[in-house]
């Protein structure tokens, strides 16, 4: 992009610029659009990679504690899982709020509604967790039920995000997680972790690749 410091001179308070030929104008529009996308929306793939990694480590550790290929107990596995999810959540909030604080208007309103939806959804899940915990003493059955509720919220929120922000990537991810949820519940308390540890990260990494491809497309976001 041309630096403003050497292509302008000021005459009578009005900056004078060299005439713009058609090809230069076309290149300039594409460059400005790409720069704006990068500066305004960042790289959505980063957020998906963060979540894919959190799921891989979190559910992987739980899986290792369940099947004994990691020297950790189920309580420690749960703590690692919770830590991974919390770290991913904090990173996402920091990245999104840094990006959004320079924009105001309709998208801020949508973002607040969407963020509030996630928070209320998981608040409800926390309350349900206490109820489910009182219903069964079986650690893995309880874990499967709570993960089922959490992933239902994740799937529905991604679907809602896809509709609100006209984002096909999010909509596909929403459908993916709803299907993965059904598969994991059908797999039962013994195998649901295998399904989540494999298909969950796969969905996030797939969304990261799709997001990167879309970002490189010259007409993306136009």
């Amino acid at each position: 992009m041309t630096s403003p410091s050497h292509d302008h001179s000021v005459s009578g308070g009005e900056p004078q610029e060299a005439p713009l030929d058609l090809h230069a104008a076309f290149r300039l529009v594409n460059d400005a659009e790409a720069k704006a996308r990068q500066e305004l929306y960042g790289n959505e793939a980063v957020i998906y990679v963060i979540w894919g990694t959190a799921w891989l480590l979190g559910y992987g550790t739980l899986h290792g504690s369940r099947f004994g290929w990691l020297p950790v107990g189920s309580g420690q596995g749960l703590a690692v899982h919770g830590g991974c999810i919390l770290a991913a959540l904090v990173s996402t909030v920091v990245l999104i709020s840094r990006r959004n604080r320079v924009i105001r208007g309709h998208s801020s309103y949508l973002g607040a509604l969407y963020g509030g939806g996630w928070a209320l959804g998981f608040l409800t899940m926390g309350c349900l967790g206490a109820v489910v915990g009182a219903m069964t003493a079986d650690f893995w059955l309880r874990s499967m039920a709570l993960n089922g509720i959490a992933i239902l919220i994740v799937g529905l929120m991604y679907l809602a995000g896809g509709a609100m922000f006209n984002d096909r990537n999010q909509a596909v991810l929403g459908v993916w997680f709803l299907v993965v949820n059904v598969v994991s519940l059908l797999a039962g308390p013994l195998h649901f972790l295998t399904v989540l540890a494999v298909l969950g990260p796969l969905g996030f990494f797939g969304a990261a690749v799709a997001g990167s491809i879309r970002r490189r497309s010259p007409r993306a976001g136009a």
């Binding site: 713009l20 104008a25 529009v29 400005a32 704006a36 305004l40 924009i103 208007g105 998208s107």
Partner: protein
């Protein structure tokens, strides 16, 4: 032959309205962020924004955030239509490139 809108067909204003078009009609961007994206001086950007504002293509809003004055800039429906017409004309002149 289509004609290119002279208000838009100047390097700095074309870059400015392109970025504002990406921000969208229902949102406004902080002047400081816009300046950073465009790598322009505040004075230079203000001059070009005034020209776009005079044409009715952008809207500049001044506000107070905490104790600090802040300026936000957004594209208007007229600006969005003019930009779309400019892009179509440019495409046609370039032979549908």
């Amino acid at each position: 032959m289509p004609e290119l809108d002279p208000v838009i067909h100047a390097e700095s204003r074309l870059r400015t309205i392109t970025v504002l078009n990406q921000v969208g009609e229902r949102d406004k961007i902080a002047f400081t962020k816009l300046r950073k994206i465009l790598e322009m001086t505040a004075g230079n950007l203000s001059t070009h924004l005034r020209k776009l504002e005079d044409a009715g293509y952008v809207e500049v809003t001044k506000t107070i955030e905490g104790r600090t004055p802040a300026t936000y800039v957004g594209i208007t429906p007229k600006g969005r239509a003019a930009y779309a017409a400019y892009r179509a004309a440019l495409q046609e002149l370039l032979g549908g490139a």
